[in-house]
Symmetry: C2
Subunit: 198 residues, 2 copies
DNA sequence: CTAATATTCGACCCATAGTTCGAATAATCG
DNA sequence: CGATTATTCGAACTATGGGTCGAATATTAG
C-alpha cells in the first residue's frame, strides 16, 4: 500500500522532471529547428539519458505536442480574462494583441516556437492535437471581435477575414520579423494597429 | 570531336530535364514540407529514376537550392525594372509589393515555397547560398526606399526597420496567411498599405 | 533489513532515406 | 557499322536517428 503523501511528492517530482525535459527540448528545437532536433541532443541538454526521456514521454512527437500545449495553455489563460472583460470589440482586440506581445517579451524562445513551429510542421497528425484546440479558440475569439467591431463601426467595413489576415500579419511582422530580436513596445503596436484600423 | 549543334541541343535537353526535376521537387516540397520530401518521391513525381536525379544534381540540398535560386532570380528580374524606374520612393515601394503579389498569383506553390521555406530551413549552410543574395538584395532595396521615403516625408517618421517589419508582416499576412488561398487583389493591397502609411 | 517498485541509462535494434554502383540501354561520332 | 560517350535506373550500401531492452541503482513499503 503506497503512502499518500509520498505519492503526491513523487507525482510532483515527475512533473518537475517533465518540465526539465521540455525546457531542454525547447532549447534544441529553437536552435536546430524541428526536424533538426535529435532526441539524443535533447537528452544531453536536459541532462537525462535518452531512455529516460522515453520513460516520461512516449515519443518525440509527444514531447513536441506537450511543449506546444504548455505554451498555448499558458497564453490562453492570460487572454481569456481580457476576452471576457466586456470592453468594446476594438479595445478588447487591441488589448489581446498587446497582451500577446507582452507574453512574447517574457519568454521569446517559447513563443517564437509556438508561432513558427506549427506552420512548418502542421501535418495531419497534429491537426487534431490538443494544443491546436487552443490555437483555434484564440483565432475564433479574435475573428468574432473583428466581426462585432465591424457591425459597431469600430473597424473598417471590409471582409472580416481580410482584416484578420492584415492584423495577424502586421502583428506577426512587428513581433517576430527580423534578425534583431529587440523587444517591441506596446506603444508601437498600438500605434501601428491604430493607423491600420483608421 | 563533338558536333556543335548537337552539343547545344544536348545542353538544352539537359536543362529541360533539370526543369522537370525541379518542377516535381516543388510539388513534393509543397505537399510534404522540406524534410518530409523524400528523394524517392521526387523521382517518382518527376518521372525519373532515383539515380538519374543524382546524374543531374549532386544532392538533395542542391535541388532545394536550385529551386530557390530559380524562384528568386525570376522574381528579382521582374522587380529590378520597377526599382530603377525612377518613381518616388513610396510609389516604387508600393509598385514592388504589388508586383510581388501579382507574381505570387501566377505561381502560388513556387512563391509560397520561396517565402516560407527559408525560415524553416535557414541554417548556416545556405546562409551563403546563391539565392540568399537575391533575397538580401530585395530586402535592401525595399529598406532604402523606406529610408528615402521617410526623408521626403512620404512615410511616417518612424524607425525604418519598424516600418519594414510592419509592411513586410502586413504584406505577408495578406498574401499568404489563411487556409483559403484566395488570390488577393492589387486594390486590397494598395488600400491596406496606404492606410498603414497614412 | 528485505521485497517490491520506481527510475535511470548505455547499448542495441531496425526502419528510413540519402547516396553510390554497375550494368544496361540509347545516342553520337568517325 | 563498331567504338565511344551520354543517359537511365534498380539494387545495394551506409549513416542517421527514433525507439526498445535489460540490467543496474535508488527509493519506498512492511
Amino acid at each position: 500500500m503506497p503512502n499518500t503523501a509520498t505519492t503526491i511528492r513523487k507525482s510532483a517530482e515527475r512533473a518537475a522532471r517533465q518540465e526539465l525535459i521540455l525546457q531542454g527540448a525547447l532549447a534544441v528545437f529553437k536552435e536546430k529547428g524541428l526536424e533538426g532536433a535529435k532526441i539524443d541532443e535533447i537528452a544531453r541538454v536536459s541532462g537525462f539519458g535518452k531512455a529516460t526521456l522515453y520513460y516520461y514521454f512516449t515519443s518525440k512527437e509527444e514531447i513536441f505536442s506537450a511543449l506546444l500545449l504548455h505554451g498555448w495553455l499558458t497564453l490562453w489563460r492570460e487572454l481569456e480574462e481580457i476576452a471576457v472583460g466586456g470592453d468594446s470589440p476594438r479595445a478588447t482586440f487591441i488589448s489581446m494583441l498587446k497582451k500577446i506581445a507582452e507574453m512574447v517579451n517574457t519568454d521569446r524562445p517559447l513563443y517564437e516556437f509556438l508561432f513558427q513551429a506549427p506552420q512548418s510542421y502542421t501535418r495531419e497528425e497534429n491537426e487534431r492535437s490538443e494544443w491546436k484546440a487552443y490555437q483555434n479558440r484564440l483565432y475564433k475569439v479574435l475573428m468574432e471581435l473583428i466581426e462585432q467591431g465591424i457591425k459597431q463601426g469600430e473597424f473598417p467595413q471590409m471582409e472580416p477575414r481580410l482584416i484578420m489576415k492584415a492584423m495577424g500579419g502586421l502583428f506577426h511582422g512587428l513581433v517576430f520579423l527580423g534578425k534583431d530580436r529587440d523587444t517591441i513596445t506596446e506603444n508601437e503596436i498600438e500605434e501601428m494597429l491604430g493607423s491600420l484600423l483608421g
